[in-house]
Amino acid sequence: MTAIALILALGMSVVSCKNVKDADVQNAAQEVVMADPALTGVVVTVQEQIATLTGIVEDEAAKMAAESAVAAVENVKSVVNQIQVIPPAPDYTELDAAINAALADALKDHANVTATVQDGVITLNGEIRERDLPTLMEKMNALNPVQIVNNLTVK
């Protein structure tokens, strides 16, 4: 009697284990990941209760957050983290606009100098007298650019 009960119990437990569907675990894990806006680029696939994470996030913290979130999902045995960390390209739109707005004033006394801005880098062209160069450079530096490229002809 006891032996039968044991066999039954074992049988039941094996059945209950087999009842865990990878697709369900995968859906649950993907749902958890989607709840975090930083993890929208993460894809979860589950095979035999092992979750594999792929996709792209912006930083290492997000990569770790995805791993621990998925590890906590029920019936996930382990997590293979293959997420790529790719930081976003900096956005210089605002800085370029601010520098462009200030350039006319800064160049007013330097009629033969032209300046262009891209990605925060000011490029100077034209010509200038050597004695006026430090004044101009000081003005350009005060605009807080990322870099100044000096192509000026110094007379």
């Binding site: 004033d105 007013k108 004695r131 530096n141 100044i148 490229v149």
Partner: protein, 136 residues
Amino acid sequence: MALTEKYKELIELARVNNVMVTHNGKVLKLEGTVPTASIKDKMWDIYQRLDPQFRSNDVLMNVKAAVTEGGKVRVVTRESRLNIRKGPGTDQPIVGKAEKGEIITLISKSNDLWWLVRDVDGEEGYCYAQYLEPVQ
């Protein structure tokens, strides 16, 4: 040569005066406020000596001399008189002029590039900050 090596002298003077020094391998950045205009000028002299005609494109130096609102500033144009304008911008009408070397009163520097000043005649308006230097 590493930037920190090339500009060692400049970095040392900057650090003594609590100027923030950072670099990303490509550009050395010096940012901050120094106690006097002469220290600022000295930093520019060193920079120019270490990088003649500023050709290397590897330094950003945004260093200002400390100045308090209500304090005195000197007009440091090269030869011409300095325009005092109604508002902050070269598109603004000129309301007065200050002589080179003249000492006038700083009212406000709420605009980083254009300072509000009062000249000796009591005329108030905006001047381009690069042509004003604090008087110690």
